[in-house]
C-alpha cells in the first residue's frame, strides 16, 4: 500500500529502507519529512489539529502518485499523511521515492509534496496563546505547484 492516511506516527528509517528493499534496480531514494513547528506567523504553537476529508484524501494522494509515475520512471513511491492532534516536533507527512538515478527521485519527491500542498484535502488548526486559529493557505504553495506545468516541456525533452 503506497498511500496511507493515518493518526499513528511512522518510522522514517523503516519507510526509507522499504523503498529499496528487494529492488536492485534502485540507485536513488529521495525522501521528505514534514514536522510541526513550535512557532508560526509570530505566535508560539502548542498543538496542531489536522482535519481531512476521508475518502477524498486517499483518492487525491493516489492520483498525485499516479501523476508522478506518469512523469518519471519510478521504482517505488510511499506517501504517508497524518491527521488528528499533533504536538511541536511531531512528524506530519512522509514522501519517499525510489528510482534509478537521483534526478527523477529528487524531482518526483518535490513534485508530490508541491501537489499535495494544493490538492490533498487537509486543513491545519493551531493552538496558540491567543486561542485556536486555522492556518491560511499560502500563495507560495500555489506558485510551487504551478511551476510543474511550466517544467513539463523540459521534462518531456529530457526523457
Amino acid at each position: 500500500m503506497s498511500v496511507s492516511v493515518q493518526e499513528a506516527d511512522f518510522d522514517t528509517g523503516a519507510e526509507i529502507a522499504a523503498l529499496s528493499a528487494g529492488r536492485p534496480t534502485v540507485g536513488a531514494v529521495a525522501s521528505f519529512v514534514g514536522l510541526v513547528r513550535d512557532v508560526n506567523d509570530g505566535l508560539s504553537v502548542s498543538a496542531m489539529a489536522l482535519e481531512h476529508y476521508p475518502g477524498m484524501t486517499e483518492q487525491a494522494l493516489e492520483e498525485i502518485e499516479d501523476e508522478a509515475r506518469g512523469r518519471w520512471m519510478l521504482d517505488a513511491v510511499r506517501i504517508i499523511h497524518r491527521f488528528g492532534t499533533l504536538a511541536p516536533g511531531d512528524q506530519i507527512v512522509f514522501v519517499g521515492v525510489a528510482g534509478a538515478h537521483r534526478g527523477e527521485a529528487f524531482a518526483a519527491c518535490e513534485f508530490i509534496m508541491d501537489y499535495l500542498k494544493t490538492r490533498a484535502p487537509f486543513w491545519k488548526r493551531e493552538e496558540t496563546p491567543q486561542g485556536a486559529r486555522w492556518v491560511d493557505a499560502r500563495d507560495a504553495d500555489d506558485t510551487a505547484a504551478a511551476r510543474w506545468a511550466e517544467d513539463w516541456d523540459d521534462i518531456d525533452q529530457r526523457r
Binding site: E51, Y53, Q59, A60, K117, P121, F122, W123, W134
Partner: protein
C-alpha cells in the same frame, strides 16, 4: 415535470465552523444545476451562510474530486465546500 434532485453536501474546517454545519442533504430546485449555482443558493440563506458568498475563498469538490463552479450536478452527488487546503 422536472424530477426532484437530492444531493449530499459536506462542509470542512473553518467553513464548517462558520456555518455550524458539517453535512446536510438537500433537494435542489430546478434552476440549481451546477456547483456554482448551488453555492450561490446556499449563500443566499444569509447570516453565516454568506461565508459561501462570491469573493470568499472557497473551494469545492464533486464526488470527492476538486471541481469548478461549472461542474454539473446529478442526483445522489456528494458535494463538499471547504477553504483552500493547508496540508503537508
Amino acid at each position: 415535470m422536472v424530477k426532484a434532485m437530492k444531493v449530499k453536501i459536506l462542509y470542512f474546517a473553518s467553513l464548517r465552523e462558520a456555518l455550524g454545519c458539517s453535512r446536510e442533504e438537500l433537494e435542489l430546485s430546478a434552476e440549481v444545476t451546477t456547483l456554482g449555482a448551488l453555492r450561490a443558493f446556499l449563500a443566499s440563506r444569509g447570516e453565516s451562510w454568506q461565508a459561501l458568498g462570491a469573493g470568499r475563498n472557497v473551494r469545492a469538490a464533486l464526488n470527492q474530486r476538486m471541481a469548478d463552479p461549472e461542474a454539473v450536478l446529478a442526483a445522489g452527488d456528494e458535494v463538499a465546500f471547504f477553504p483552500p487546503v493547508t496540508g503537508g
